[in-house]
Point group: C2
Chain length 353, copies 2
């Protein structure tokens, strides 16, 4: 089973009905991640192309227009419908609490949407965001890039085919030192109202969503604890540990905004185990171990860049009118789980979903 | 720091005040683990020697007397004080709920005790067990063999010296297919009254105690869930997931009596990470990774057999009147934590310790 599942691990299982179309994308919100990861990924894409950027910063607009050869708009222009003939879809990469108005604008322009995770800062606003796309008849993808990582997709196939038997347990962590490098405390990720939550919302959603994707299952209850010993994290959780109960198994997930950088995910099954290290870093080689009673496979460096895949997957779906795995409903399941984790951390009680 | 801590990893940090003495040990309870792991380990020891076995099974007594050249007693003889001049200490390896009477007998004979984990089937009985040794003035060691694993002791030194900064999180699992091999459902580990608990008590105590040992810290609260879908586990937990809150960090531990065999432990810190695979199998080479901002060290095959170390450590402490790390108080902390985990699983509430 190893051989057939993991041969040609970087293949695109979603591109059978190939198209020559190019989907032109407007990027709304040009923070560091959008500039250094997402825009270059679109540029490298086969089906996606960056054609417009929206930023409130005139210097940034000039730099990006030059660097990517795109039309640069400010937010008023974006809302007023400027250059709508230059893009087919919108990538929303603004702070969480601004997703809703920017997605509503895209929907009102009849543009398809790929929206960064988590969908919004609150469940209510996320539900309105999903409804706005539904009402306008535009496609919505939650930007869960791990779901388009080829190695992760191979693991999902392996798990779904019974490769590790029944899933008994998942364990995952994402520790992201948010104040590392050049980033100081004056950033929206530390602003409780703009972000909705701290490590839980920004990086905890990775092990949660990826475990759900691998196991094909949704949570039924959550128990969580949070800690914010550093005053920089007065408004948001610095550390979170959350136990997520599924039907017949449990996921123990954690996330931190400080500490030694770490990203990992592991699924333990009745008849095997899959473990991924360097699990969530953008563009990293996933270090994958697949263990079964008949042998162990180490699979490292087998995949393609998941962010290039992400925008191409979205663009291909738009071009061919295909569904996407990480849709709005998928994003809402996580929003409800994250909110329940916050409720549990505040009350010290297990919260059912 | 790597070099100095992990050089000569198998060294005995506890044997500075060496002695030539041999401590003669009576083994009470001769199940598979005692016969195949503990007795051979004593035999290989420098300070420990097996001289007496106690078993209710005449065939077993004859076989063991022959195999190890020991005096074999039945339980009546042990209680009546037979052959007390042939042993200095007692190793209690009976089912959990029988530890108390067998330790009381040892104490009444004035013999030192090394007692298998967990200390007993209930907190109350474990407290009486510890008190019996205190009252008789005999030494009590809880048989936490991981604490005498040289690699684990090196990791503790490294963590205590700040090698990974502040501990932020621990994750550990012990999945032991208790019905694997020749073992059927007719065994005391599945008997709720004799065992006190299932996977939680029998193997869950490993990640809990070892994480506590490495971090040098005690729990303050527990949240747990258990599942026993297989009817063979009607009386005890088949699967347990328990989140243990410490002062400023959380341990997420799990254990199973069925599933793909797995033993692992990981500590995430503010400035590094230590991970151990094959963490708890008797005599296994620990696969250790130590990660810090300045580099990564893979340390595998560096240790000695922890069970040989365990009995020699105990015997050396008895001979030199030294203290032991895993004493009765240490065992009681875990008993209270395990009982709190059971209470949490039953109530769905977080339980403070």
């Amino acid at each position: 089973m190893f051989e057939s599942t993991f041969a040609d691990a970087s293949r695109r299982d979603w591109a059978d009905d190939g198209t020559d179309a190019t989907v032109r994308i407007a990027t709304v919100g040009c923070g560091n991640y959008a500039r250094s990861v997402s825009l270059p990924a679109m540029e490298r894409g086969e089906y996606a192309a960056p054609t417009v950027v929206v930023s409130g910063d005139a210097d940034k607009r000039a730099t990006l227009a030059d660097e990517f050869g795109v039309t640069a708009l400010d937010y008023d222009e974006y809302e007023a419908g400027a250059a709508t003939d230059e893009y087919d879809a919108v990538y929303v990469a603004t702070p969480n609490r601004l997703h809703l108005p920017h997605v509503e604008t895209a929907a009102s322009h009849g543009k398809h949407v790929i929206c960064e995770k988590p969908l919004e800062a609150t469940v209510d606003r996320a539900e309105r965001l999903v409804a706005a796309c539904d009402d306008a008849g535009v496609r919505l993808m939650t930007a869960y890039r791990m779901q388009t990582d080829p190695v992760v997709r191979r693991l999902r196939e392996f798990v779904a085919a019974g490769g590790i038997g029944d899933v008994q347990r998942a364990v995952g962590d994402f520790t992201f030192p948010v104040l590392g490098g050049d980033a100081g405390p004056d950033q929206w990720r530390l602003d409780g109202r703009l972000a909705g939550g701290g490590a839980l919302y920004d990086v905890g959603v990775y092990p949660l969503n990826t475990a759900r994707f691998l196991a094909g299952d949704d949570p039924v209850a959550v128990s969580a604890t949070t800690r914010s010993p550093d005053p920089a994290f007065e408004e948001v959780d610095q550390h979170v540990d959350f136990g997520v109960e599924f039907d017949g198994w449990v996921g123990n997930f954690s996330a931190s905004f400080s500490g030694h950088p770490n990203t990992s995910l592991e699924l333990l099954g009745s008849d095997g185990r899959v473990a991924v290290r360097s699990a969530f870093q953008p563009g990293a080689d996933r270090e994958v171990t697949v263990e079964t009673p008949t042998g162990t496979l180490d699979l490292t460096g087998a995949g393609a860049d998941e962010t290039v895949e992400e925008f191409d997957y979205f663009a291909h779906a738009v071009a061919t009118d295909a569904g996407v795995d990480p849709d709005g409903a998928d994003g809402l399941v996580d929003m409800r789980t994250l909110a329940a984790a916050q409720e549990s951390a505040a009350s010290g009680r297990r919260v059912e979903l």
